[in-house]
Amino acid sequence: MDPMARIPVPNSEVDVSTYQAWKKQLFEKKQPVKRLLHADRVPHNVLVIGSGHRITTNFIPALQSLEAIFNVIGIWSRTREHAQYIENTAGWPAISDIDRVHLNAADLIVISITASAVPNVLKMILNTTDCSNKHLVIDTPVFAGFRQSLFTPLLRHFANVTVTEDYMNFPQFTLLRHHTNTASIGSIKKVTLNNTGYLYHGLALGRSFFDFDLVKHSNRNQLGVNYVLNNGGLIELVLPYRRLEGSVSVVGEKGDFHYVNSVNEKSQKAALSRYENVITEAWEKNTCIGFMVKTKGSSRLSSFSLNDITIACEQRDRLFQQCKTFGLIDVFKSLSDHNINGGYNYLQALYDNYVSHISCQRTGKLVWDYRLIMKWLELTTLR
């Protein structure tokens, strides 16, 4: 017979600020995701959905470099030939249906498809099996447009959801975050993203320097968008976005740190002589060999390599793809280890997506009313 317990009688009630409770809920999603994977069950089985350019260019090298941790058990695509091509080239078994057998065997489900098709694929998966013990890894921006945010409750059927915000995990930005923490520039006051960071990627990158604090108000002007965060931090996003041809400046209480690209040699040299703390691309014989970190007069090279992936490449476009792959590797590593992406879940991604879109589209100052945001989150995130 089961041991018996006396039925508790409520004798009090929760008395907290609704705003604080919702803020807590949003930030609690920055959960230590490493605990979501069984430590004693390595490698984790991965089912990949999608077979587009993003999969072939970034996901395949990223997952192959982490094959000790992740074992791809199948890839599904609505275009069977594409999946078959990946089976032939990468060795991931192409599957013709998202069936119960494959879903049940998967610990992780990776979705990288057109954002507008995400709700239907999610419904198909959830209709096939119980996903309460499965981890979903999904590409930004998760859903397409505001209307699709109504499908957000579908995500709550998974044990956890990680969003592949690889841009903020680009090696140069990871280096910048690391060095701004260690270079004694004091608490960060301003981050300027010059032609760097597309909409939500830019906001995510900017917020990553401020521990993902929320936006208090935004101001769209001729140059771009300024975001003022709750803690007083400022993110200046100077448009237009130009992939790797932009720069980033981080200004702290006691100093500053800069990332400059090497497209314009003159401006790169000028930055190196003007600033005390700089990170810049290091090119040798037309090949990018890593990033040069200059702090207080001393310089050292940070090269990146992981198995057969190296940052070395000859073309800027290829360098951009390599950075994306490295960023993606960091995202996958966050599932079993702590890094900045560990705190980036679908709520954060949707927040960045909608706040950045509205802020960029409307000229002038916008005050972000927490109560409305929290209400929206309440409506869209609860089952």
């Binding site: 317990a5 609704t18 807590k24 430590a39 309460s132 013990n133 609860l382």
Partner: protein, 237 residues
Amino acid sequence: MINNNASQAWLSVPDSLRRYGLALIDDLYTKESIQSWNCDIDQYFKHTPPTERRYLNASELHSLGITKQILNKPLLNLINGLMPDAALYHFHFYDIPGMSNSPHIHGDNGLKGWHRDDDCFFGWEKHRFHFVSFFIYLTDVGLDSGPFEIAPLNKDQPLKNRTPSTKVLGPPGSNFIFDRTFWHRANPNLSSSNRRVIKLSFQNNYLPNDRIGLEEFATLKRSDLVASPIIKQWLMI
């Protein structure tokens, strides 16, 4: 145990935990045992100023000779019935000093101490328990002496203002289990005396457990407690 209007209705422990996140167990220990443990602890801390927070880890509790009494047969059966693959990861005594204005744990989180424990985010499988804690009050706990409080809101539910909650009140020896994935908190101990508690926490043994390897548990692993196969399993030997 709960308050003056305590209900006398009963529910199985798993059902109570699923529904309320809390199971109020009837006394597993005699008054004499509690009294004797308090004396031993007083003796241990006789040179510690009353204002200082007292804490005893598993090894120190064992040195007082009370671990065997705490891990008695009813407790073993209770936890084993609830979680057949349990592993221990907390086993300690601590007190909350009196005259405090804020909860001793997460008191500054903007939610008056309401929290779900960080280590519990793994708890996804809804049909089973992943993280539970067992409390034994060693002092009389009233409304002002820092009672444990829990709301019937599990990991899928956000903390909501005005949700009816339960403050667990009771005399020395009162004991209860709670699901750590539910929203809970320690109330501030406004009274003049310290609130004393012995706490044991359990999780499934297949989940990451970075505490069982601690030196404090090494003493238990070397002791005669491991004669019990259940305790042996709890210590992951």
